[in-house]
Structures are given as structure tokens and as C-alpha cells.
Symmetry: C2
DNA sequence: AATATTGCTGACCAGTCAGTCATTAAGGAT
DNA sequence: ATCCTTAATGACTGACTGGTCAGCAATATT
């Protein structure tokens, strides 16, 4: 009749701990995050954290890696499989994707990487290869396809797919730092898309 | 004949300490920065640091505040006093200003603020009022002057001066995280300016 | 030269925290 | 029931560091 003091849940623990860790890292940053607090939020003892993650750094890396991947892949798939015109895709799914970034977990990851990237070069590399480079290639490919289809002209924008996402990055940062001070980030990104389209449409 | 063990230099110490502190904060971030190391780099004992700055946090704030101000004010003055046409100003001094940001101390400050902003809301406010808001107003004013002079059309760009600096922000971040991976940040910013001009020129 | 002033030092303290490990007990196997 | 494996606990340690302060010595004053 005595309640068991805990349950053994080997399968779920790592995910639960990583989930709690993400929250704590998000709030405090890497250095100020306390393993004790991670454990507490996961409803687990500190020792158990160290059973599943050898060090704080490893936990950090696991958490960061776990966040972002699927989102970029979805965009990539959408580009490949869409039946929309390039302009419609830009104004529709692409813009929707970008609007979703500021305020999401992705921007937390950006912050953490900027803050701690120095000391975790392998993490930066992983993130660059699997998120940034992949995303940039996807946009690049999208623009070139537009050119081939005769929808777009060939312009300097072909060389700088970063132009599409620059306002998104600014929006993410703005929201993180200045939440209260008003900036209509959605319309900011829309305006950039308007401008790019006006510039490259055939 | 015995060399004096130290010299008393009340005037210079604070600046020297702040200088060293900037370096250490830049390399390590706020939390991981050690006051001992700051003192060592300033060629000074740890105790002296606490004579001039009451706490680590105060030192941090003093350092951040000391970095950015003059730069933005120079841009503001340049806008007011220039005899160039709006387009010439954009392509000349304005672009030069923006190219100077990534890789400069300013981007270090951006990184530190993103990483530590949470815990220093007054610092964020100070930075917003004296740098961000001021800069945005300056650009806004510049665009509106162009409209009044008949050089520019009135477009959505009037409402989003952030569009001018978004690629600059992306460049700053890119350079910090991915130094090695090539991106011609200067040309990225030029391309944005080209595009904006094409879009708003009367 | 003697005295006063104060910039500066560095040993020290009290608190903190990542990581360890001896121990406990959950729950499957027999 | 009993044993056995191992998930889970949490007290503990050792290293580290922000901040203090009693005293020293470089200069200013007389």
C-alpha cells in the first residue's frame, strides 16, 4: 500500500531530462543553468541525469541537437513537392515558415549558440551543416528553379539566399531582447518578400 | 634602486580594467569570465578591480555602455550634415558604416546582450534607447527626407527601417559563428541596398 | 626628513556547484 | 516468496570563485 517512491522508466527518462534541460538552458543560458534544477524539473534526482548524460556539456549538446532538425527538413520537402508557383510558394508556405521562427525554440537555439558557440566548435559545425547550409541550399535551389521556369530573372539575389532570411533573424533577435517594444515582425518579413519579388520577377 | 612594485595611476586604472574586462567578456561571456583574469590582464590585483567597480555586474554594465555610443552618434551627425544625395549617401557613408559593424566591438556587444540580456533588463533598456531606437529613428528620418526631396517614393520601407540593417545583423552573427565558412558580407549588404533603392527610387 | 594619505596588494572566506558513489529499492525472473 | 539485476537516489567531495579587508608601500605634504 505504500506508494512506490519512484518508477523505473528507462525508456522515457532521457527525453524527459533533455526536455527539462532545454527549458533551463533557455532561461538561464549554459553557464548559469544548474544540473540540480534540470533534475528537479524532470522530477528526478541529480545523479540520474549523470547516468544518461556523462557531463553537463554532453547534455547541452544533446539538447541543442534535438531541437531543430525536423523543421528544416520539412521546408526542404515542401519546396520539392509543392505544386504552387514560385511566387505563391514564397508568399504562402515559405513566409509561414519564417514567421514561425521568432519566438520558437529555434531562436532559443540561436541565442545559445551565439552565447556558447565559441567553446563548442563541433556543435557549431553540426548546426551549420545540418541547419544553416541545408537551409541556404534549399533556398538557393528554389530561386534557381524559379529562374529555369522563367518565373524569375537571374540577379544578385541568386548569390545571396541569405537575403530571404535576414529579416527573420533580425526579428528573432528583436523579439528576444525587446519583446515589449513594438515591431510587427510578420509584416517586416512580408515587406522583404514583396521587395525581393518585385526585384526578381521576370 | 629596487624597482617600485607598482605605480599609483588612479586616473588610468578604470579604463585599463574596463579594457581588459571587455576582452575577457568577449572571449568567455559574462558568467564564465573570471575577475581574476580581468585583473591579471590589466596588470593589477583582483582587489583593485573591486575598488573601481563594486561588483562583477557593475563592471559588465560599465563595459557594455562604454562601447557603442559614439558610433551611432557619428552616423546620426553624418545624416544631418551630408550634402550628398540620398542615394549617394546610402551607397557611400551608410554602407561603409554598416560594413564596419560585423567583426567590430558592436557585434560582441550584441552577442553579450543576447546571451545575458535576460538578467540585466536595465542594460537592455539603455541599449535600446541609446543605440537601437536612435539608429532606427535616424534611418527613418533619412528615408522620409528622401521622400520630401522627391528622391524616394513613399513605400512600406518607410515603416520598416529595420530592412536596411537586417543583412548587417545577419552578417554580424554569421561572422561570429561561422567565420571560416565563406559569405561575402559586404556584397550581401550592398545587394540589399541595391534592391531597396530600386524599390523606392522615385 | 618625518608624517600623512591613499592606491594597491594578496591571502582569505564563505558559498556554490559539477560530478561521484555507496546504498536503496523497483520490478522482472525463477 | 525469493533472488537478482539495475534504475534511481541523495549525501558528499573537491575545486573554484566573487567578494573582503588588514596591511603595505608609493606619493603628496609639511
Amino acid at each position: 500500500m505504500a506508494e512506490p517512491r519512484y518508477q523505473r522508466r528507462k525508456e522515457d527518462r532521457p527525453r524527459e531530462i533533455a526536455e527539462a534541460a532545454f527549458e533551463v538552458f533557455a532561461e538561464k543560458g549554459y553557464q548559469a543553468a544548474r544540473i540540480d534544477e534540470v533534475a528537479q524539473r524532470a522530477g528526478v534526482s541529480k545523479g540520474l541525469t549523470y547516468l544518461y548524460f556523462k557531463t553537463k556539456e554532453e547534455l547541452f549538446k544533446a539538447v541543442i541537437r534535438g531541437v531543430v532538425i525536423r523543421r528544416v527538413d520539412r521546408l526542404l520537402d515542401a519546396v520539392e513537392s509543392t505544386e504552387l508557383s514560385s511566387e505563391e510558394f514564397l508568399r504562402g508556405p515559405m513566409l509561414e515558415f519564417m514567421k514561425g521562427i521568432p519566438g520558437s525554440r529555434v531562436s532559443v537555439v540561436i541565442r545559445l549558440l551565439m552565447a556558447e558557440g565559441h567553446r563548442h566548435p563541433d556543435l557549431v559545425e553540426y548546426y551549420y551543416d545540418n541547419v544553416v547550409a541545408k537551409g541556404i541550399r534549399t533556398i538557393s535551389h528554389f530561386v534557381e528553379r524559379g529562374v529555369e521556369r522563367g518565373e524569375f530573372r537571374k540577379t544578385a539575389v541568386n548569390d545571396f539566399p541569405q537575403l530571404f532570411i535576414a529579416p527573420m533573424m533580425l526579428s528573432a533577435i528583436w523579439k528576444m531582447l525587446f519583446e515589449t517594444r513594438s515591431l510587427d515582425t510578420d509584416r517586416l518579413m512580408e515587406t522583404q518578400v514583396d521587395m525581393i519579388l518585385a526585384h526578381i520577377k521576370a
